[in-house]
Every structure is written in C-alpha cells, then in structure tokens.
C-alpha cells in the first residue's frame, strides 16, 4: 500500500492520522527489505534514524503540520553528503566515509521535514549510464530485472519506480537523472545549472553537476524542486534567483506555448518505439493547443566528444583528493613509501570506468594537449549553448527523445565503453549548455518497458517544463504504476 502513495497522499494520510509516521516508515522499510535484495537500489538503509525522526513527528503534531514534507520518506543518491550517514559514491575508496555535514539540498529537505530512508546505488562517482559501474554491484531495472535501470542515478530511479521510495534525489552531469528516470518510467528533473546548490554534492564534473528530484508524479517532482532550489552562499556558482512556486502553477493552460523539434535529434537511429512515443506525445500536446516548430541545433553531434573531454578533465582533478592520506580507503604498502601508498590506494580504490576517465582527463589537460582538447571542447560547448539560445528565439521549449535505446541487458555493453557513451547523446547537450531538462514517462512499450520523452527549457525556466508535463499527464490520464516485482 504505502509503496503506491504519492507525497500528497502521504501528507494527507499523516495529517488525518490514518497512519502514524512511524507505521509509515516501518511499512516502507519492510517493503524495502523484501525487494532491495534483488533490485539493489539502496546501498545504505537508515532504518534507525528514519524511525527516530518519524517518532518525533508522531510526538509533535505541530511539527508535522508546519513542515511541508513532514514525515515524507525520501531516498538520496549516495554522492550527496548526508551528515553522519555513510556516503560512498558507490566507490570502494569512500566505502566507510561518513561526512560530518549535509549537502545543502539534503539540509533543505531535512528542514522541510523529509525523512531519509536510505542512500541509493549509482555508477561509481556518477560515471556511467547504467549503474553497473558500482563497487557494490549493479542496480536492476524493476520493470525487467535482467536489464539496466539507466544511470548514474539508477538506484534512485529504481527505488522510486519499484515503490521503495515515493521520491528521491539524483544528480545529473550528462543525463544521470534523465536517463534512469526514462528507463525506470518515472519523472526526473535536471534543473538549470546554478538553480540547486552543489555544496555537498561530491563532484564528478563541477561545471556540469546538478542535483535534482525524481518522483512518480509531476506534483511530487514540483514540490521537491521547490524545496531544494535556491541560492546558497556556500556555492558561488549557485544563482541568486527567486524560486517560483512550481507546485502552484501546474494547472496553468499550455495553449499557445511553442515547442521546438530539433531535427538533429531525430536523424539518429532511434528505437522505433521511443520515436513513436515522442510522436504520440506531440499529438497530445497539439490537442492542448501547443504549437510546434522545427528548429536546428547544428552542433548536437559534437556534444558527446566535447563532454567526454570536459567532464573527465574536471573529474581527473576533482578525484585527486582521494589519495589515502586524510580519509577513505588507504591501501597497505610493503615499504613505508608515499608513492607506493598513492599508487596502491588509487589502483585498488577506484573501479575501471573511474580510472578510464581519470586517464582521459589527465591526458586532455596535459601540456601540449590542453589547447587541442580542453580548449577546443570548451569552444564546442559555447557553440552548443549558442545553438540553444538561437533555437529558443523561435520556441519556448524543446521536445526530444531521452535516449536512442530502450533499456538493454545488464552486461550487454560493458565491454564497449564508446557505445555506452553514445547512449547519452540526447542528454549531454543540455548539460553542456546548463539548461533545464525533464524526463517525462508516457507508459510502457510493447516489451513492457517504460518509454517517455525529454523536455528542455530556457535558463531558469523549469516552470514551463512542469506545466507541459502536468498538462500532458492530465490529458492522457496518466496514472503512475509501480513496477510489479516478482
């Protein structure tokens, strides 16, 4: 039962006293216990602190009433720091790392009354599109447990899709919220870069990383986005901009909104069911009075190349701090030798994909290659930004597929990193430009796998994405299903 509930259902049941916060958490915890073993969505389950926090709400009704998310369980991706809760980034190197601080977005959720039930699996340091690159085993897609849930926020998306959490936080660097949300049939928002503080988000690529919500309904997604957004003096790249009340503008009519269809996104070989889902949704939007216009984003094809220079370059530097000196894993050495300690620690502490990207990034920043790689990629990035700015002169939002492929089998592409990188082809450009993007589910394909589409908006215009997604779901009478677990 509890696995089906949305945030507003949970809130109304708690406020009516239909269920106590403790009962709710207990029920959810036992549901998680039954299903997590084969989905592997959670790396850490915080039963004790969750129950304690729930009791506090039961003992203090005023608190429950005042806090907008009072008593609402949430799952947090394991690259977001949680005070006194182990935060691993799904890496051996941080296996036992317990931060003494909360990420700002986590702190905001706690202040709003949310109860953290656990930390979710991911590709190690968020590097991957399948959640197979976790030091603690892959997460399985709840719709077909042989298949990948997408990544890197696969644990969060799978938890929400399977009912192991009503909502979750993920992070998105090149599609890491949008792709798993798509593959798991839930909603996921990557906010505008600068909308949500990055403080406490363990950096993969600082100029791209952004935390965002994952949920089963547009309303829930909007409530979470409202709570976690806003300027943070601890992150100078966060932007001083008022946060709209996303949850209050959902019903605004979408008639007259103009959506652009970027032709480059449809020139790829796309899974026909995915393409059909986008086409069908366009039809639905037309009936709502939305106008469509074809636009061009000519540098789309360079996105993957630029991303796989910039992100690894930043990562190679961001991950340098994991050296065995101060915290985290330290490999024993034969001799008391600093270099040996560094080499062993990093060789054993990092997984293959992380090491691959550190190598890539180190190479791209090296003397003699910096201009040819990093600088060139930065120029491409600016061209991609300009593509979007130009397109948005003609339209208010864009519609695209989220990925060219439906969820594939676990292990299927593990030996071919390049093929995996190409899964991100439709999500990377928005990350490089810093614009907001949302994954919107349509339902299930003939194979019983989720399909959906991606909406992209102008800088700081998450509002239009919420309005469009809400209108679409209302029009098709979308009702979120919990992946049926065998």
């Amino acid at each position: 039962m509890v696995e089906q509930w949305t945030i507003s259902e949970i809130r109304s049941k708690l406020l009516k006293g239909a269920i106590s916060a403790k009962e709710l958490i207990q029920e959810l915890l036992s549901y998680i216990e039954n299903h997590n073993s084969y989905i592997n969505a959670y790396l850490t389950i915080t039963a004790e602190s969750a129950l304690k926090e729930a009791e506090e709400f039961d003992n203090n009704r005023k608190l429950l009433e005042e806090k907008p998310l009072g008593g609402v369980p949430i799952a947090i991706k394991d690259c977001l720091c949680t005070r006194f809760i182990r935060t691993t980034c799904a890496s051996k190197i941080l296996e036992n790392f317990v931060p003494p601080y909360d990420a700002t977005c986590v702190e905001k959720l706690r202040k709003a009354g949310a109860i953290i039930v656990g930390k979710t699996n991911m590709d190690e340091f968020a590097m991957g599109s399948t959640t197979e690159h976790s030091a603690f085993g892959p997460t399985r897609n709840p719709w077909d447990t042989d298949r990948v849930p997408g990544g890197s926020s696969g644990g969060s998306a799978a938890a929400v899709a399977s009912g192991m959490a009503p909502c979750a936080l993920g992070t998105d660097t090149g599609g890491s919220i949008r792709l798993p949300s798509f593959y798991c049939g839930v909603l996921g928002l990557k906010p505008t870069y600068g909308r949500v503080s990055r403080y406490g988000l363990i950096a993969f690529a600082s100029s791209l990383d952004q935390a965002g919500p994952i949920a089963r309904t547009v309303e829930d997604l909007a409530i979470l986005a409202e709570v976690i957004s806003g300027y943070d003096p601890k992150d100078t790249t966060s932007v001083k901009k008022e946060v709209p009340r996303f949850s209050e503008i959902l019903g605004t009519p979408v008639k007259g909104i103009r959506i652009g269809i970027p032709k480059e996104y449809f020139q790829h070989s796309i899974d026909p069911e995915i393409e059909r889902a986008v086409e069908e949704s366009i039809k639905v939007f037309r009936t709502l009075g939305v106008d469509f216009v074809e636009v061009s984003l000519p540098h789309t094809d360079y996105g993957v190349a630029a991303y796989y220079i910039i992100a690894p370059a930043e990562a190679s530097s961001n991950l340098a701090r994991y050296d065995g000196v101060k915290y985290g894993f330290r490999s024993p050495t034969e001799k008391p030798d600093l270099m040996e300690m560094y080499l062993n620690t990093r060789a054993k502490g990092f997984g293959a994909e992380v090491k691959r990207r550190i190598m890539l990034g180190t190479y791209a920043l090296s003397a003699g290659y910096y201009d040819a790689y990093y600088i060139k990629a930065s120029k491409v990035r600016r061209l991609i930004q300009q593509d979007f700015l130009k397109a948005f002169e003609k339209c208010d939002a864009l519609i695209t597929p989220v990925a060219p492929l439906q969820p594939f089998k676990i292990g299927e592409k593990l030996e071919d990193p390049l093929a995996l990188y190409l899964v991100d082809v439709f999500t990377l450009p928005a990350s490089l430009a810093g614009i907001p993007g949302m994954s919107v589910p349509c339902g299930l394909s003939s194979r019983g796998l989720p399909v959906g589409f991606q909406l992209l908006g102008k800088y700081f215009d998450e509002e239009i994405l919420f309005r469009l997604a809400y209108a679409y779901h209302r029009e098709i009478a979308y009702s979120p299903q919990i992946a049926i677990l065998s």
Binding site: C81, F97, P99, Y199, T237, E314, D323, L365, A367
Partner: protein, 480 residues
C-alpha cells in the same frame, strides 16, 4: 669573458587576513596542529570554496601600489600535483588570468633610481605543513596553514645585480608592510622569494639559459645565492660548457646552490580554470574604494620628508621605515614645527626608549602631542635641554605630561633675575681667586662660575641668563 646577469624574482607574501582565502577558518599562526581547519580547507568530498573578498581588496591594494593594471575579470585556476600537504591535491591559484599585470616599482641603486617591471600579481592558497618524525618512518601533516591567502608577485627580468635584487626585495617588503597586507617576515616565511637567473655576454640582448633558485630565507641569502650562481654560471660559460635549465636549492650553511631537478623532471601542473569559482569581477567602484585605503608609499614619503622638511636622507629613511613612526613624526611637527629637532629627538631619545622597552611606536606611551609639548618647554627655555631628556624618560615611565613633571618636581628653569643675581654674587664672593683670574684676562673661568651657579640651583638656572649676569657683575668689578 664579462657577463651580465639577468634576474627575475618571484615573491610570495602571506596576507594578514583574519580568515583563510576560501573558508572561515582563522589564519592564526602557532596554534595546535589541525585546529584551524574545516571540511572546506581539508578538501573533504563535496565541499566548495568561497572567495574571501578581503583577499581581493589586498591584491588590488598591492596592484595600485605597484602601478599594475587590474584585470576587470580574473579567474582562479587549479594547479594539479600530488603532495600530502595539499589536501585536494591541487592548489587553487591564478594562471591565465591573474588579478593584476604590467606594473613596476622604483628602487634606489648606486646609479640612481631604477624601475623594475612587475609582470603579474596573482592570488592563491597556501599549502599545509609536513612534520617528519626523525625516529620513525612517519610523517604528520598540519593543515592549519592550508588555505592561508598568498599573493605571488612576479618581477620582469629587469634586475642586473644581486644588490639590485636585495634592494628590490627591500622596497617590495617596505611596500607590503606599509599597506598592512603582510608582516614581511622572511625568516618565518610570510615573505618568501625564489629567483630566476641567467647570464649573457655583456652587451648581448639574447637571454641565456636560466636556473631557478629556491630556499633563501633572508635578503642576505638571496644576495649570496645570486652571487654564488653568477660565479658558478660564469665558470661554466668560460669553460665553454652549458648551463642546465634546472631548479637549484640554496644551502646557506655551505654557501652553495645544489641542483634539485632539471627541466625534464618538472611536473606538468595541468592548469585549467577552476569550475568551482566564478570569475572575479573588479569594477572601477571597487578599485576606487580600495584606492582610498592606499597610504603614501615609503619611497615617496622619504623623498617628500627630505624635500618638505629639509631632512637628511639618513633621518628620512629611518623615519619612513615604519609607517607609524613617520605618522608620529608628522603629528609632532604639526604642533612643534622644527622638523630637524623633532627628528633628532625621535631618532635618539624616542627610539632608544622604545628599544629598551621592546615596544613598537604604536604602543608608545608618549603621544606626539606630549612630545611636542616637551619640545616647546625646552624651546621657550622653561627647562633646559638636559633636563628635557630626563623629563622625557619620566614621561615614558609614568605616562605623565612634561608640564606636570616639570611642575611636580620643580624643574622649571630659574629665570628670576633677582634670585639669580643673589646666587651669582654669592659665587663670586666665595671664589675670589677665580675672580682674580678672570679679571687678569682668563675669561674662560666664566664656565667655572656657570657650573657653580647651576650646582646651587640644581641645574634649574637658565644658563643664558646666568652667563649674562656673571659677565655683568664681573665687568662691574673690573671697572671698580
């Protein structure tokens, strides 16, 4: 062959901010290890740097004082290298876009003033400190210094001799101390210097192969290391050998430089713009705001003191060596406008008292007003200069004003003619022999009489008046 040295200096100064450059931790020196630290300066996962505005203020201040142009937009960059005292394994510094460039400062050389170009000034964070256990193969790391703000000042290779190098450093240090952005302490490492030096045949305009010298912790050592390096490189070139481009460490104990690593062994720092920090935007308003806090610089002040107050260079140099001493001087002048007299008093009496008590001019118990009052008392002959000196000591130890001391101790000069006439008559009566001598033409005896009168008046008699009265009385005797 005769060679010319081409020298450029890189100076790192530790800034006197209360807090670190990217977090709120204290910059205090000497605290217990790892007590002034937080997740940010420890480089823990997920934390982010936030720039301390004061550091930019200080950088702008120095840029203005060294005639640099200030970049409207500058950028932090990451300098990547692994070392246990560097928690993130990269140092946040500036690379392609430093805060200030293209400046100069003027130094005094044997051949008159000389301009030395400043190539760039940039902001960066300091690293921590390793402490090695000598008895066990264990090293400890103290992160208290991690994130203490630094400015790096890179000169153009305009310096030609070790003396000029020392002079440049002295001038630069005087400036940063004057600006109150750094304490200028070279031994403790808050003012550090590396040097680049190459030789070329006299008259040539091409640059030779340079070496970089490190580990010099005083002006004298910089000068000595450069002198040694000139000899070493000259000898190599004379023998037809080549100078190897390398970093060399100065060994002060042995008085030699020792090769540390060659160019091939240099690290590739893989600089790139730090994505965690937005570009630093400095507008005219900000510069103007800082401009108001830039004081007159030591060299300008020295020249002005010589010109305006007619002071000798020696006096001016000492007075401006400390900004507060110079202020003290000028505040005294306002109330007692005899610059040379004031300078003499400050250079001898005041500095002696300060040195004895080991206190700085800012802690001086005698205010400029009070010094001026004392000098006025001497000037208008209320007290003699000699008594003035003992009054000054008294002022220092008691904190009382000169006037109070003079009154309490009855030190006022006796200028009462009737009283003095009586004393003079007494003295002359008591020493008839000396009177005879005087009348016999030995006029020098007058000094003896003055001494006697002073004794009888405990030194309080106005010597000028005593002289006059003595002569008058003695001449009277002569004409009798």
């Amino acid at each position: 062959m005769k060679y010319e040295a081409v020298i450029g200096l890189e100076v790192h100064i530790q800034l006197l901010t209360e807090t670190k450059i990217f977090c709120g931790c204290s910059t205090r020196f000497g605290d217990a290890p790892n007590t002034n630290v937080c997740p940010v300066c420890l480089g823990m996962p997920g934390v982010l740097p936030v720039l301390n505005k004061k550091v930019v203020d200080f950088a702008i201040k120095l840029a203005l004082a060294t005639n640099c142009s200030i970049a409207p937009v500058s950028q932090f960059a990451r300098k990547n290298y692994f070392y246990p005292d560097l928690p993130k394994n990269y140092q946040i510094s500036q690379y392609e876009k430093p805060i200030a460039e293209h400046g100069w400062l003027e130094i005094d050389t044997q051949n008159g003033p000389k301009k030395i170009g400043i190539r760039r000034i940039h902001m960066e964070e300091d690293a921590g400190k390793l402490i090695h256990d000598e008895s066990k193969p264990v090293s400890y790391v103290d992160f208290n210094r991690t994130g203490v703000p630094l400015l790096e000042i890179v000169s153009e290779p305009d310096i030609r001799t070790p003396e000029e190098a020392a002079q440049y450093l002295k001038t630069l240090r005087d400036i940063v101390v004057y600006l109150e952005i750094c304490d200028g302490n070279m031994e403790e490492g808050s003012f550090r210097c590396d040097a680049n030096i190459s030789l070329r045949p006299m008259g040539s305009t091409e640059l030779g192969v340079k070496t970089e010298l490190k580990n010099m912790n005083s002006f004298k050592n910089v000068q000595k290391a450069l002198e040694f390096e000139i000899r070493r490189q000259s000898a190599l070139l004379d023998r037809g050998e080549k100078v190897v481009q390398e970093t060399r460490l100065w060994d002060a104990a042995r008085g030699v430089t020792v090769g540390m690593r060659t160019k091939e062994e240099e690290q590739d720092y893989r600089y790139f713009p730090d994505p965690d920090l937005v570009p630093v935007v400095v507008d005219k308003e900000w510069i103007d705001e800082v401009k108001n806090t830039v004081p007159e610089l030591p060299r300008d002040k020295k020249l002005r003191f010589m010109d305006q107050y007619g002071l000798p260079e020696y006096d001016a140099e000492i007075l401006v060596s400390d900004r507060h001493l110079a202020d003290y001087f000028e505040e005294t002048i306002v109330r007692f406008n005899r610059p040379k007299t004031v300078s003499n008093w400050i250079l001898t009496e005041l500095l002696r008292e300060l040195n004895q008590r080991e206190c700085s001019i800012t802690q001086c118990p005698v205010s400029p007003e009070r010094l001026a009052e004392l000098l006025q008392l001497i000037d208008d002959e209320t007290i003699s200069a000699k008594i003035g000196k003992s009054v000054f000591e008294e002022m220092f130890s008691t904190g009382k004003s000169a006037r109070t001391i003079v009154e309490e101790k009855g030190l006022k000069q006796v200028t009462d003619t009737d009283l003095l006439e009586k004393v003079v008559s007494e003295v002359l009566e008591q020493h008839p022999k000396e009177v005879e001598k005087y009348l016999g033409g030995a006029e020098k005896v007058i000094g003896f009489f003055v001494g006697q009168v002073m004794r009888k008046t405990q030194g309080k008699a106005n010597p000028k008046l005593v002289n006059e009265l003595l002569r008058k009385k003695l001449e009277e005797k002569r004409s009798k």
